[in-house]
Symmetry: D2
Subunit: 463 residues, 4 copies
C-alpha cells in the first residue's frame, strides 16, 4: 500500500490521497538535510531567515480561511476553534521572528581563581543540527508550526512527519514557506510508515528529535535514539483540578467546561480529574451538567459547532468502553455516556469513579470529565499527585495561602490559579514532566533547545 | 564475590576492602531517597543546605593533605595535581553555595494577546527529584563533588556509584558531609556490581541520571532510562588543536605538553590530535620531544612526579598496542612508545599517523599525542571535525580572523584560543556534544539541570 | 573646630573624639582614589578582591560583640537589633563575594539586518570609577557595608563620609578591611564638614555618588553633581499599610508593631501609616496599644531593651511637636505621646490624624504609627498613594484578588503581602522611587550599578 | 515671535511655519500626560500597544519616500542616508514591538537566611511615568523614534520637543501614530522656546527625561531636574580610532572615510581623531585624501550627494574657524579647509594638529578628521583617553592581543575592532560615558530604562 487516504473524521469523506514515501526517499531527505547542515556556505543569515518568516506570516494571514478549513476538515476540531488555531499558528511565526534576536550567549567571567586569569570567555549559541519532528493530529497546523518554525528560525534543517490522519496542514505550511522563499532542504515533510519513521529516529544524523504523541510510543522511541541526539517528548496528561469551597462556581464552570470538552477532550492538558470540595459538589455538578447539555456537538465545518468528532471510531469506541467500565466500577454517570453521529461522543460527566478505573488512572483523551468529592485540601492535592502523569494542573480558590499551597505541592509543569488546565500561550514554557514528557516547548523555548552553546575562551595577556 | 579490593594503580598495594552491596541494599537506598523526595516535610531550606555545605567546605579545607593522598593513592594522579584537584573540589563546594541564590524563576509576561489578559505568570525552579550519579576514576574527588554537591545544593537526594577502582574519595566526601550535619538519605554512596547499577539506571524513581565515563557504556545506559528520567552524559573526546605558523611556539609547547600528558592523558579533554602548520612542524615537534623527555614519570605520591601510572595494566597494554599499530600504519614515533614501571607509559609523540589508525579515530586516554602536518587552515579545521566525538578544541594563532574562523567552524563545545584543550574552571559550562555527551556540567549548570521549573499562572481581574 | 565628639545618643557619654579632615586632606584622598582608578597596574584581580573580602568576613565574624557594641553605642539601636545588624553586615560581605562571579556581560546578537553582518558583539562590565558614599546614622555598620563593599568588590576605589553622629562603625569596618589586606587608597573614610563633603560631591573625578539620608539634602546634592557622575539616592518614606477585614489580626499586630517601633521608627521603611478596615479598627487598635505598652524602652546596651533613644534630643523634640500638632489637628492619641529618659520617645499610636497633619504627610522617622479608618479597598489604596514619597508598602489580606489589586496599584518599590513594610534582605532590590530616591540598592544591585558595560564589536569576515 | 520657520539648511528655502506653543499649552500637555498616567483605566494593554505599533510600522513602510524627503529637507542629511535613516526608524518600531514581550521581572529567591523563610518574591516592571524627550537635529526621524516609541511601547505617556531646526519629522511620526489609532495624550509634540522647555524639564510630573544634544545644555538641564526624575543624556564625543601597522589600509580607508564624513560629521560618534602608526601614516593619509576628494558634496535631495550641508551657517563658520586655528597651531591641512556652497563644508583632513587645538580637544561635529602619528600602541591608547568625552572608539589591527589591549584600555562605551566608530544598530546599547552622557539608549535599553520594577513579596506559610 503506497497511498495514504486522508479522510474527514466526521463523515469519512475522502479529503486527499498522499503517496507514502519509501525508504529511499526518506533516506534522501535525511541525507540532504544533513548535507545542508554540514555546509556552512548554504546557511542563512538571521536577516534572511527573518525575511522568509515575515513572508510566511503574511501568506498565512492572507489564507486564514483556507488553513482553517483544511485543519478542521482533516482534524475535526470545530471551525471556530480551528480558526483560533490558525491565528495562533500565525502568531507563532511572529514569535519566532521576535526571538531570533534573543538567541544570544553570555560572558563566563574569569579571574575568580588565579588559574583563570588572562582569559576572556563567551558562549555563543549555534543551531544544534538536523531536527526531526513527529507530530500529532490534534492541532495539525499549530503543532507543525511549533515543530518546524523554531528549527528554521535558529538555522536548523527540519524534517517533519505529521500524523497520518492529519498531514495536510503540515504539507500546506511547508508549501507556504517555500512560496515565501525557503530554499531547498530546510524544511521537508515526510509521509512514511512506522518502520521508516523509526529509521529516522535512530539516525545519528539527527541532532534533535521532537515528538508529540502518546507516551508509550514516545518513550520507546527515545530508547532508540542515536548517541548524542537530544529530544523533546510531549505526551499526554490527566489534568487535575481542585475546586475549593470559596470558589465562584459559575465562573469556574464556564472555564472548566471549556477546558474539559474543547476539541472533544483530545488535548494533552484537557481538564480530566476535578476534585470538588464536598460542600459545593452538589451545586457544582448540577451546573456542569447544565453546561454540558448546552454544548452543540457535530460537524466541525458548521460555525456553530462546539464539539466535533473523535479522530476516529476506534477512539470513540475506546472512550465509550472506559466510561462504561467506570460506571460498572462505581461511578455515577451524571450526563452523556453515548456515542453520537458517526464518530462523535457526547460530553460526559462521571461522579466519583473509582481510583482504579481507567478514567481515573489513564489519559482519557475524550470529552469525559470526572468529578471527585474531597473534604480536605491536602487530600485533594495527594490524589491529584497520585499518577505518574504530570502536566498542567489547577486550583480554584480565592485564598492566597491555599492557592500557594496547591501551587507548591501539585506535581505539574504548570499550575493555574482560578483557570482551567488547558490555558496556554505560545510564548510560555509548555511540556509535561515525569511520564508526561521531557524538554520544554513553546516557541522561544523550542528555539533555545534547538541551539547549543559553544564556549569561546581567549587566552591573552591583554586581558 | 562480595568485596572490592581497592588497590594502588602504581604498585598494586591494597588500599582498602569495601563490601559490595547486594540488590536489597541498593533497593533500600533507592527507596529511601525516593521517600525523602516525596516527603516535603523533610526537605531542607536553602539556608540549611548552605550551612551544611559551609561546614563541609571547612572540613575539607582542614583535610587537604588526607584527601590529596586518598585521591592520589587510588587514582594515580600525581600528588601535586591531586592537590590541585582537592582545592578545586573545595572551590566546587563554594560555588554551589554561591549559586543557591541564583536558582530562580522568571516572569512570563502576559497580555500580548487579548486571550492572555488578566494573568500573572512566574516560573519557579524546584528540585528535579532523585539524582543517580555514576562516576569515573580520573578525578575521584572532584567528579564526586560535581555529581553530589549540586544535587544536594538544589534539594535533590543523590545516590552515587563511584568507579570501582577509585571509590574511596567519594566515600570520604559523603562521610565529611555527614560529619557536617547532612541528615540521612540525602547523599548515599552505592558500591555495587554492574547488574545492580543497571537496575538503578532503569528505575523510574530516578529523575536525573548523571554519567561520567565511556561513551559506549553511557549511550547504552541512556537507552534503558525509565520514562521521564533526564540525563547528562559526559564521555570522552579526542581533542583537536590547530597550531598556526604565527604561533609563539615555546609558549604553545608548555601549554600543549601539559594538556597532553597531564594525568597520563586520562582526561576527557586531553590534547590528542595536534595539527601543526607545515612551516613550523620541524621546530614544534623537536621542542615537544624535548618537553616530553623532561617529564618525570613515576610514583604518584612522590611530590616531584609529573606523570603517574595508567589506571591499570590493561589500559597500559591497550595504549601500547595502539601506538604500535599506528607506527605499523605509517606514523613516525618521535618519542616514547614504551611501557615503564608496572603500569606507567612513557609520554609518547607520534608524527603523522594515518587517519585510519586508532590513535587518530578514537579517544586514546593515555599519554600519547599525535602531530599532523597541514598547510591550509581550512584543511586543519576539516580534519579536526572529522570524528563524531566533539568536546573541547583549540587553536593557536595571533590572528583574529583565523582565530574566529576556527572558533566558528570547529565542532566543539568549547574552543580555546591560544590555550590547551584541557582548560576548565568549575563554574564554566562543560560537556561534550554529539557522541561525546549530552547535558551541561559545571557546578552552576548541573544545579540548573537538576531543577525543573514550575509555572504559576494566576488569573485575576486585579491584574 | 577640628574635632568631632562622638557621643552616646542615650546618655551623652563621650565615645570618641575624631579629628575633622580639612580640605587639603580631603583633596588628597580624592586625588589618590582617582589616581588608583587611572592606573590599571594597581587594579586587583577578582580572586584578589575575593581573598580580601573573605578575610574581612572572618575578622568581622570574630568581632561580632565588639562591632555590636560600637554600633549600639554610637547609634542607639538596641543591643539585640544591633547584633542582627552586624550579622547582616557580615552576610553582606558574603553576598558581595558571591556576586563577583555574577558580574558579566552578554552577547548582543548581530545579523538581524544585512548591515550588521560579520560582527561579533559582547558587552563586558567594568568598574565605573571612583565611588563617593555619604551615609546615614541609623545602621552605622550595615550601611557602611552597603556603600563600601560593593564598590570594592567590583573594583572601584571608594571614599565614604559616614554620618557625623555615627562614624565609628565605618571607621572600624575600613580598619578591618585593611587588616584583611586591603591595599592603600581602595577604601577611605573621610570625616569632614559639609563644605568639604560638597566639594567631593561636585568633583568630576567621582563617577558614582551613593547617598543615604534625607530627601532634602539628597536632591540638592544631585543637582550639584559633575557631568557624567551617576548617583543612587536612598531617602525616606512614609510607609503605608492596608489591613483588610479578613486579616489575622494577632499576626498582623506582631508584625506591624515590630515594623513601626523598631529602632524607634528611625528606618526609611518604618511602618507609619496603617489603613485599617473600619470593621476591625476597634479590635486592631486595642491590640496594638497592648503591644506598644509591652515594649521595653531604654538603654541600647541593655540586652532586654526593645526601643532605644532617638539619635538626638532635637529629633526627640521634633517628633513630640508633630504628635502634639496632630492631636490638635484632630487625631486621637491612643498611646504614648511622651518623651522619656533623656532622648527616648514612648512608642505612640495616633488614630485618624488629619491628612494635613505632618504625621500624615511627611516622614516621621520616630516611634509613631498612625491608624486610619477606611471602608473600601480602593479608598485605602488612593490614600496610600497620596504622597510624593514612595518606598515600601504592604497589604494584609487572605484574598488573592485584593492582594494583587494592592500590589498593582500601590505606588511603591516593593509591596509586601501579609508582612510589614520594613522587610528587607540584603540581596533584594531596595530603594525608594519618586521623591524617595533613585537607583537600586541591595548588595548585588549596587554592584551592578557600580559597573558600566563596555561593548566590544569585532568585525570579521570569519563570523 | 510665535512662529518657527523651518528652512532647508542647504538653500534656505522655507519648508514650513509652525506656531510656537506658549506656556499655557505646554502646561496643558504636561497636565494631560500626567493625568493619563495617573488613571489606570486609560492604560493600554500590551496587545493594544502592539496593534498600534504594528499599524504605525505599516503606515511608515507605505511612506518611506515622503519621510525620507522630509528628513533630508529639514536636516540636510543626503537623500540616500536619509532613506537609510527612515528604514532604521521603521526597524526601530519593529524592535519595540518585539521587546514588549521581553519586559519582564525575575524571582528574588528567599530562604537563604532563616529570616527570609516563607516568602515568595518577584519583581514586576511597570511603566516609569511621564517621559519628556528633547531631541537633536541630526537624525530627525530616527531620534524621534528612539525617544517616543520605547516610551509608548512600555506604557508611558511621552512629550517630545524636537530640535527647532528639524521639527517636521517628529510631528509627522506622531501624526502617523495617531492615524494608527494612538489615543489622545499618549504622545505629544511640543514646539516651544527654551524657557518653556526648561519648565518641563523641572516639572516633578516628569519621571524620565531623555535628552539628545550638546553636553553643555544637557548637564545644565540635569541639575534642574525635580526630585525623583530619571534621565538619559546622550551628548557628543570625539571618537578616537587607532590604526596599527598591520591593518588592511584600503579597507580601513573605506570604513573610516564613511565614518568621518557621513552627514558632514554631524554625528555624536563620528570618526574624529585617528591615531595612525608612523610606519603607515604616509600611505594612509594619501589614500584618505584620495577618498575625500572623491566625495560628492551638495544638495541633500540629490540622490548622488554623499555629504550635504552643515545644519546652519553658524556651524559652518565655527568649523572653518577651528580648522584655521588648528593650522595656525601647527596642523598640516592635507585636504579641504574650505566652505562651499551656502552652508556646506569641504571634507577636511588635518595632520598632527596640536593636542591643544580645539579640533583635538572638543567635539568638531563637522566633516573634519584629524590624523595623529604614533609609534607605540600604549601611546595611542593614552592619547585616545586624554579627553573627558568618552563614547565609541575603535582599533584596526589583525592582532588579537593588540585588539584586546585596546578594547580593555580605551575609555569608551563601545570599542569596535576593525570598524569605524559610528557603527550602530538600533538594538545595541548606545550612549556616552563620563561627560558624553549617562543612561543607555537603543530601543530595548530605552524600554528597560523607561520601566521601574516593583517587588512583590508574599509572606505565606504555604511557601
Amino acid at each position: 500500500m503506497t497511498i495514504i487516504k486522508v479522510k474527514s473524521p466526521f463523515d469519512g469523506r475522502l479529503l486527499q490521497e498522499i503517496p507514502l514515501m519509501d525508504s529511499e526517499i526518506v533516506e534522501e531527505k535525511m541525507a540532504k538535510a544533513y548535507a545542508l547542515f554540514q555546509d556552512r556556505s548554504r546557511w542563512l543569515k538571521p536577516y534572511e531567515r527573518i525575511a522568509i518568516l515575515e513572508r510566511t506570516k503574511k501568506l498565512m494571514e492572507s489564507r486564514v480561511e483556507d488553513l482553517t478549513k483544511i485543519a478542521a476538515s482533516e482534524g475535526g476540531k470545530p471551525y471556530q476553534d480551528s480558526k483560533v488555531e490558525v491565528l495562533r499558528a500565525i502568531n507563532g511565526v511572529q514569535l519566532a521572528i521576535e526571538y531570533i534576536g534573543q538567541i544570544k550567549g553570555d560572558q563566563i567571567p574569569m579571574g575568580m581563581t588565579a588559574a583563570s586569569l588572562n582569559r576572556l570567555a563567551f558562549s555563543m549559541p549555534e543551531p544544534i543540527g538536523v531536527v526531526l519532528s513527529i507530530s500529532a493530529f490534534n492541532h495539525p497546523l499549530n503543532l507543525a508550526v511549533h515543530q518546524i518554525i523554531p528549527a528554521f528560525a535558529v538555522g536548523c534543517p527540519v524534517i517533519i512527519k505529521p500524523a497520518s490522519s492529519t498531514p495536510m496542514s503540515a504539507i500546506e505550511l511547508v508549501k507556504i514557506m517555500k512560496e515565501a522563499g525557503l530554499p531547498a532542504d530546510w524544511a521537508e515533510v515526510v509521509i512514511c510508515n512506522r518502520e521508516n519513521a523509526e529509521l529516522m529516529v535512530k539516525d545519528s544524523r539527527v541532532n534533535y528529535f521532537s515528538f508529540i504523541g502518546s507516551a508509550e510510543v514516545g518513550w520507546a522511541l527515545r530508547s532508540k535514539l542515536a548517541p548524542g541526539t537530544h529530544c523533546a517528548m510531549e505526551h499526554g496528561g490527566s489534568a487535575p483540578v481542585i475546586v475549593e469551597a470559596d470558589t465562584d462556581i459559575d465562573e469556574a464552570i464556564s472555564l472548566l467546561g471549556k477546558g474539559a470538552f474543547y476539541h472533544a477532550g483530545q488535548v494533552c492538558v484537557s481538564v480530566q480529574r476535578v476534585f470538588v470540595h464536598d460542600s459545593i459538589m452538589d451545586e457544582f455538578s448540577k451546573k456542569l451538567v447544565v453546561y454540558a447539555k448546552s454544548i452543540k456537538v457535530g460537524d466541525p465545518l458548521d460555525p456553530f459547532t462546539e464539539v466535533g468528532p473523535m479522530i476516529d471510531s476506534w477512539e470513540q469506541e475506546r472512550v465509550h468502553t472506559w466510561v462504561n467500565e467506570a460506571v460498572k466500577e462505581g461511578a455515577e454517570l451524571l450526563f452523556g455516556g453515548r456515542k453520537c453521529m458517526a464518530t462523535c461522543y457526547q460530553p460526559s460527566i462521571l461522579l466519583n469513579p473509582s481510583e482504579d478505573s481507567k478514567v481515573s488512572k489513564l489519559e482519557v483523551f475524550g470529552p469525559v470529565v470526572c468529578l471527585y468529592t474531597y473534604s480536605k485540601l491536602q487530600e485533594a492535592i495527594d490524589r491529584s499527585n497520585s499518577l505518574d502523569l504530570a502536566f498542567q494542573a489547577s486550583i480554584f480558590t480565592k485564598n492566597m495561602d491555599k492557592a500557594l499551597d496547591a501551587v507548591s505541592q501539585l506535581n505539574a509543569s504548570a499550575v493555574m490559579v482560578n483557570d482551567h488546565t488547558a490555558f496556554r500561550v505560545d510564548w510560555m514554557p509548555f511540556g509535561g514532566r515525569d511520564a508526561s514528557g521531557i524538554g520544554v516547548g513553546g516557541i522561544p523555548y523550542s528555539m533555545k533547545e534547538m541551539t547549543r552553546d559553544k564556549l569561546m575562551v581567549i587566552r591573552s595577556k591583554s586581558i
